[in-house]
Symmetry: C2
Subunit: 199 residues, 2 copies
């Protein structure tokens, strides 16, 4: 018997910034989906669906998987009936920058979890410099990011910045006053509070 009323299943992780963005954005667009937190380090079952073993991964009701984050964001927009013909490549680049910053922070975290002996100090310095440069550029671009209605770009930037707070440092807040002031307000949204990583 064909299953009825199945909704997509979004696999995420408790502290994954990319999972958080997808969950927030899907909810923001009022979509119906299940969200299941998994431990990515013990998720062999995911390999068959997403050989990269990365979250978020979205499982559709036909069993097919969609990834990466940006594919899922677009799918959500399509499902929600958003107008996908309006292209803003500068905005897309700002999103790339925030995603790349979060990815650098994730790599930094992985490196810091190694024993001091096993850490690659050159790599750590490189990742720190990348994060520092990126957050400054996002601050330069903060007028574009923070103006206008709540949208994907804002969720992506907010989650990336809070991930820096969580895994790296809050020092950026002193030098990046505009972004800090905006995030102070955006962070008080209910959905941001409910999805904030703890640990």
């Amino acid at each position: 018997m064909a299953s009825m009323n199945k909704v997509p299943l979004l696999y995420g992780g408790a502290t994954s910034p990319f999972s958080r963005m997808a969950k927030l954005y899907g909810d923001h667009l009022n979509l119906d989906f299940k969200y299941e937190l998994i431990d990515i380090y013990n998720a062999e079952f995911l390999d068959e669906l997403n050989p990269l073993r990365q979250i978020p991964t979205l499982i559709l009701d036909d069993g097919n998987a969609l990834f990466d984050s940006r594919t899922i964001f677009s799918y959500f927009e399509d499902q929600a009936g958003c107008d996908l013909t309006v292209l803003d490549f500068q905005q897309s680049t700002r999103i790339s920058l925030a995603l790349g910053m979060a990815d650098a922070c994730l790599q930094y975290r992985m490196e810091m979890m190694l024993s001091e002996n096993d850490r690659n100090e050159a790599k750590i310095l490189k990742l720190k410099a990348r994060m520092d440069r990126s957050v400054k550029k996002l601050n330069d671009w903060s007028d574009d990011i923070t103006a206008g209605k709540v949208r994907l770009e804002q969720f992506v930037v907010a989650c990336s910045l809070e991930y820096l707070d969580f895994r790296y440092t809050k020092n950026w807040r002193e030098e990046c006053g505009k972004l800090d002031a905006w995030l102070e307000v955006f962070s008080q949204r209910d959905d941001m509070i409910k999805t904030r990583p703890v640990g």
Copy 2:
């Protein structure tokens, strides 16, 4: 005086699979742009344009930068007048998989360039497993990938597979016969030959 007839400038790297894809795709779409190879390890000038210091980065005639690869691909399609309203999320996921495989291979290469003492063996094993799983899944999906006209998906998969050959292993070719047979032919394209990494 405003500059006239300026064309976009695409920064790439001699062995970067993502740069190669962008160059190939832009040419395939008959776009007019300059392609400049840079040494990403000594490209401080790029930090101001792209704080992630990643290639490809596309510089528009107004001086603004576009990245990452997928933003550049979309921009190229928009410039070429492609119909961007036809969305195929399974195809987008296959592209994500090939890009993620190439990224795993790049990380693998970075790790192998370290002295034996500094290498993280657990990470190397993880990356190898990710590449092995990914190429098998691409082979499972090869009917979809190889059918139809030459398009972005095919350039991305072909460049990712050749990057595996170049930096990891050609062993996948035995187990993934369909993909191997397709690549044998696709690799003989002039544009593929001209952009093939050597070293």
